[in-house]
């Protein structure tokens, strides 16, 4: 099966069917989950808009519960009616009638209907907290006090044990929205969602329900309530009673240091019924609140107060709380909340550890191996270099072919022949080569109708007359030592191919070429060197390599089955038992893409081709027969694609949330950690390849370019595979820009003024 092949059709059909079923499930589940359980199956009633109620409706009544009422006038009487269920809930007193004027709606305080003697209700918002709520529960249990906890769905999902304890110890629960949203500001959709989801999470987590709500950020001042009409209306519409408080000591402000001194005590003795607003969670040290409660309990009892839960003094709340019949939708909501609030931090931590361990572990392993390989001395070399043919496949290379061949001719190790295969060029490539061949008999020109680079190379391998074939790209410039170094590595008859070292010739052009230069250095200097130590080189780049001709012919030559014909051929050689080597001193300079567009096109082809090749040779994966290649290098190359494929969207979202909630610092911290790891790797690579230290300047920028590029590549490859589209042979516009390199043996040839188009070859063994 080939990722671009026809059998992907089945996968696409399966994906479409699964997508369709998911859509249907969503169409059923979304209305079911978002309908208010407090309405007990009734349809959501119509009611007045915020505009109809007005900015500043008259405020009537007394108590700690609040609602919007519609004013109905009947003769001298004025009744307040719940605008959603049509229930008349109050008759206005003469004073209230006066205050209401001709308003159509009013805000009504009510409650304490069942309060006798003196009562005090402690209420705790924003929890539960995994640390302070248990301490608070200990304190309350010690003094035999029950309280009311207005919990957020998020905290409920995160702290199941604390929730169970609150219920077990006889405290009352209340709804405080899912994420502590300001319902006075939020859209009706959002506030509805916050209320309903939080309700379902509470039901599923505790088996209890509480259809009453305290608005986050509320205060019991009339002006605050008037500003919260939007939220009050929404809660009422969905069947929730809105509860407030009548004493706010602002414990949170003392915890944060905004207020100093003693937290004020409620007006004991002045007010017969007190509902006290406190916080058992919500950031900061809550021990001040605990001390306050400990101090208050004896004071209040001495003043004759009984501690109550809110439902104990408000029958309207008592009839809205109790054991719940937990539905499947409730459980689904809880599972979803756990997925959003609980799993991500854990999963993210896991992923980060995994990433650090794999990156760090592999980095250290590769570095050690590369160092071991470098110290292994004397390096085994062939006593007598095999005679070699140089093979260059060319398509429309008129502008650069002469310069390339001149470099070959200047090689210190005299080559026996130079075979140039012209793949049906439409420019003067053949003429240039023929012209050079006239004065240099070692140059042979072969011509074929345009069939592609793989076919041109195969023709060259067939026609070459020497036992070793050195392949070079038409735009690759070699040093006088390159060919000799390549040939020296054929130290044993088991060596089937030798990879050269590709360097970026146009490094100083811009940030992208500098980035690529650094990437080539680390990939070749450390990772491929380590692979070479383990005899596990997965890709011998055709741009600069030497091949045992019989080994290639026996393997069937290059194939067009993948977009990465050199990787494919390398893996085939491994399967045939050949050893693959790397020659650090065989350097060739290539021209790297200079624009993001060209880079992306090149990398899509590499990644897709590499995936195709790995897939084609998947029988090698986890086969001890193939040594480290099968057991480590190939599985890692698969994981390097699969893990980011699955988790990039998740990590992106979580990182964005981290930036929103915690600022840039923690994200930059992780970023720095990864960069330091990479930097260490780069230092070793630069030392081993004897490269200039200037490469290291790019280290901090490395991941900034690498991460988005990798994400793009992975998904565009997935898209291509799913669409079943065969990637074309993306062609790269060459600029013929080459930095002057000290290693360059010849005066730089004249730089062509017109950009030529030629087939893109793979200059290095870098899997994207």
């Amino acid at each position: 099966m080939d990722p671009s092949g026809r059998r992907w059709k089945r996968l696409r059909i399966a994906a479409t069917v699964i997508g369709g079923v998911l859509l249907i499930v969503l169409a059923v589940a979304v209305p079911a989950v978002t309908s208010s359980p407090a309405l007990a199956g009734a349809t959501t009633p119509e009611g007045p808009t915020v505009a109809e109620v007005g900015d500043a409706p008259p405020v009537i009544g007394e108590g700690v519960l609040v609602r919007v009422v519609k004013l109905l006038r009947d003769g001298a009487s004025v009744y307040g009616q719940d605008p959603f269920d049509g229930q008349v809930v109050t008759e206005l007193s003469a004073l209230e009638i006066d205050r209401a004027g001709d308003a159509e709606y009013a805000l009504q305080w009510y409650g304490y209907d069942q309060a006798a003697g003196r009562t005090i209700s402690l209420t705790f918002d924003d929890g539960p907290d995994p640390v302070y709520t248990p301490e608070l529960l200990d304190l309350l249990a010690e003094h035999d006090v029950t309280a009311t906890f207005f919990v957020t769905g998020e905290q409920v999902a995160k702290n199941p044990d604390v929730m169970r304890r609150i219920v077990r110890e006889g405290h009352a629960l209340g709804n405080h929205s899912l994420t502590h949203v300001d319902v006075g500001e939020a859209t009706p959709f959002r506030s509805g969602l916050e209320l309903v989801l939080s309700d379902r999470i509470m039901r599923a987590q505790t088996g209890w329900y509480a259809s009453f709500f305290r608005m986050p950020y509320e205060s019991f001042a009339s002006s605050s309530m008037q500003a919260d009409v939007r939220g009050i209306l929404r809660a009422q519409q969905l069947g929730y009673v809105v509860t407030s408080h009548d004493f706010d000591p602002k414990d949170w402000a003392y915890a944060s240091g905004e207020l100093t001194g003693d937290i004020p005590m409620p007006p004991l003795g002045v007010q017969d019924h007190v509902t006290l607003l406190l916080h058992d969670a919500g950031g900061g040290d809550r021990s001040r609140t605990l001390e306050y409660v400990e101090e208050l309990i004896p004071l209040a009892r001495d003043a004759g107060y009984t501690f109550t839960t809110m439902p104990q003094v408000h029958p309207q709340l008592a009839e809205r709380t109790g054991p719940a019949e937990v539905t499947g939708w409730d459980r689904a909501t809880l599972a979803l909340a756990q997925l959003v609030f609980v799993v991500p931090p854990v999963l993210l931590q896991g992923l980060l550890v995994l990433a650090l361990v794999t990156m760090g572990g592999l980095g250290v392993l590769y570095t050690v191996l590369a160092l071991l390989r470098a110290r292994r001395s004397p390096r085994r070399t062939a006593t007598e270099p095999l005679p070699a043919s140089v093979l260059v496949a060319a398509y429309n290379e008129e502008l650069v072919i002469r310069r390339t061949l001149q470099h070959v001719l200047a090689s210190a190790h005299a080559v026996a022949e130079i075979v140039v295969v012209d793949d049906g060029s439409t420019d003067g490539t053949a003429a240039v080569v023929r012209d050079m061949a006239a004065s240099e008999p070692r140059i042979r020109l072969l011509q074929q109708v345009n069939r592609g680079k793989w076919a041109a190379l195969n023709l060259g391998f067939e026609q070459a007359r020497q036992p070793v074939v050195v392949t070079l790209d038409a735009d690759t410039l070699i040093t006088p030592e390159t060919i000799g170094a390549l040939l020296a590595r054929f130290h044993s008859p088991r060596v089937g191919a030798v990879a050269g070292v590709i360097k970026v010739g146009n490094r100083s052009r811009n940030v992208l070429t500098r980035w690529q230069a650094l990437e080539y250095v680390t990939q070749i200097g450390v990772e491929r060197a380590a692979a070479a130590y383990l005899d596990a080189i997965a890709i011998v780049p055709g741009a600069c390599a030497a091949w045992r001709r019989t080994a290639v012919l026996e393997a069937g030559g290059y194939s067009e089955a993948t977009l990465a014909e050199d990787c494919d051929l390398t893996l085939t050689l491994h399967q045939h038992g050949w050893q693959i080597e790397q020659a650090e001193d065989a350097v060739a300079y290539t021209e790297a893409p200079e624009t993001a567009d060209a880079l992306v096109r090149q990398r899509v082809r590499w990644m897709f081709g590499t995936l195709q090749a790995v897939w084609r040779h998947r029988s090698m994966i986890l086969r001890p027969r193939y040594g480290w290649l099968g057991m480590l290098v190939l599985p890692m190359s698969a994981l390097a694609v699969l893990v980011p494929l699955l988790f990039t969207p998740f990590v992106t979202v979580v990182l964005l949330l981290m930036v929103v909630s915690g600022g840039l610092v923690p994200v930059l911290g992780y970023f720095a950690l990864f960069s330091i790891f990479y930097g260490l790797l780069a230092v070793v690579a630069v030392r081993l390849l004897d490269e200039r230290a200037a490469h290291l300047l790019m280290v901090p920028l490395y991941r900034v370019i690498f991460e988005p590029l990798r994400a793009y590549l992975i998904y565009s490859c997935l898209g291509s595979a799913l669409r079943g589209v065969r990637l074309g042979w993306n062609k790269l516009a060459r600029t013929a820009h080459m930095d002057a390199t000290p290693a360059e043996p010849l005066p730089a040839p004249a730089v062509p003024t017109v950009a030529a188009r030629q087939p893109v070859s793979r200059p290095t063994a870098v899997p994207a």
Partner: protein
């Protein structure tokens, strides 16, 4: 993607969608079965013709619920009850269920304040509830119908609390709670009906009978008790607040003979007999879907409006068209027997 391939994918997706929709429709309770209209009939103790009417109605088949008027509440939460007519023995044998009515219509008026007093006093309300539940359980009735009219506006919350507790007690014994409420067409209404939140009552009660025939009464101007347009308004208001499968539309079998600002209640049979006696020709008022005639007696001008089977037919059709649970006929005794044929025909004409 090529044409045939995308067509295959599309076909598969459409097939999956259709299969899922079909599954949902088939599995959804109630969608596949044909609903049967519930027909309730009230049986008064004060009209001796009731028993015979019940016999006829049950024999003709359509009546599925019978509500004999059984008790009045008394101050403190007690009940003033009457013995049920032996005719109700017919009910069980015909598969209909018995839901006796407790009603606060005493001495020709609705005793709203009396009931509000009971509901406002927790101990009285509890006593009231226990007595009702005990009677239902002891007599093994199917349930009870609560018909408390003209409660003061602010007693609605207490009514809901009372009915909720009553419903829970009845359900504990597998009995049902039926509630009869006055007609409303808007949230803003005359104070006599403000206490009745259709939305809350519809949530509490197992079924809600709407008394859609109080548009005219003994001391009102002469007119039809249930003009058709008004009935339609009531249904429109109610279905937005009460689940249709709980909602029953009240049908009248009576009218009034008004003279000198005072009306005397007449059953259909009485009105027809009166017209014959005074030689009047009743006129059919199509807008009201009611009959009317005038006559003079003792120097006084009388105006009569009354409902018969033809009136009921028009309103029955409204109930069927709105997909309601059924109709509640007020009352047996002197009704137009043509009424009992409507169960067969009204649905077809809707």
């Amino acid at each position: 993607m090529t044409g045939p391939r995308s067509r295959t994918v599309l076909t598969a997706a459409i097939a999956a969608v259709m299969a899922a929709v079909a599954g949902l429709v088939l599995l959804h309770p109630g969608l596949a079965s044909e609903p049967r209209l519930t027909v309730a009939a009230a049986l008064p103790w004060w009209d001796p013709r009731g028993a015979a009417s019940l016999q006829a109605a049950v024999a003709m088949g359509p009546v599925t619920e019978v509500s004999p008027v059984w008790a009045n509440p008394t101050a403190g939460g007690g009940l003033d009850t009457v013995a049920l007519s032996p005719a109700v023995g017919l009910v069980d044998s015909n598969g209909a269920r018995l839901l006796p009515t407790v009603q606060n219509y005493v001495d020709r008026r609705w005793q709203g304040d009396l009931v509000a007093g009971i509901l406002a006093d927790p101990s009285a309300a509890e006593r009231h509830r226990r007595i009702i539940v005990a009677a239902v359980v002891d007599n093994d009735w199917a349930g009870v119908d609560v018909d408390y009219g003209e409660l003061p506006p602010t007693s609605g919350e207490a009514l809901i609390a009372f009915l909720t507790a009553l419903r829970d007690d009845l359900h504990a014994h597998d009995k049902v709670l039926s509630v009869t409420v006055p007609a409303r067409t808007a949230d803003e209404a005359r104070s006599e009906v403000l206490a009745y939140s259709y939305r809350l009552l519809g949530a509490v009660a197992d079924q809600l009978r709407v008394r859609a025939h109080y548009h005219a009464w003994d001391t009102s101007e002469p007119g039809p008790v249930a003009p058709l347009a008004w009935v339609q308004d009531i249904v429109r208001y109610a279905v937005e607040r009460v689940p249709r499968e709980k909602l029953m539309l009240g049908l009248a079998t009576y009218g009034y003979d008004w003279a000198g600002g005072r009306g005397v209640e007449l059953q259909t049979a009485d009105a027809v007999a009166l017209a014959r006696r005074v030689g009047a020709a009743p006129r059919w008022d199509a807008d009201a879907a009611a009959h009317t005639f005038r006559y003079e007696q003792g120097g006084e001008q009388h105006t009569v409006w009354y409902e018969d089977a033809r009136s009921a037919e028009a309103k029955w059709a409204v109930a069927v068209a709105a997909g309601l649970r059924g109709v509640a006929v007020w009352r047996l005794g002197g009704e137009d027997r043509g009424l009992w044929d409507l169960a067969e025909t009204a649905g077809e004409q809707a």
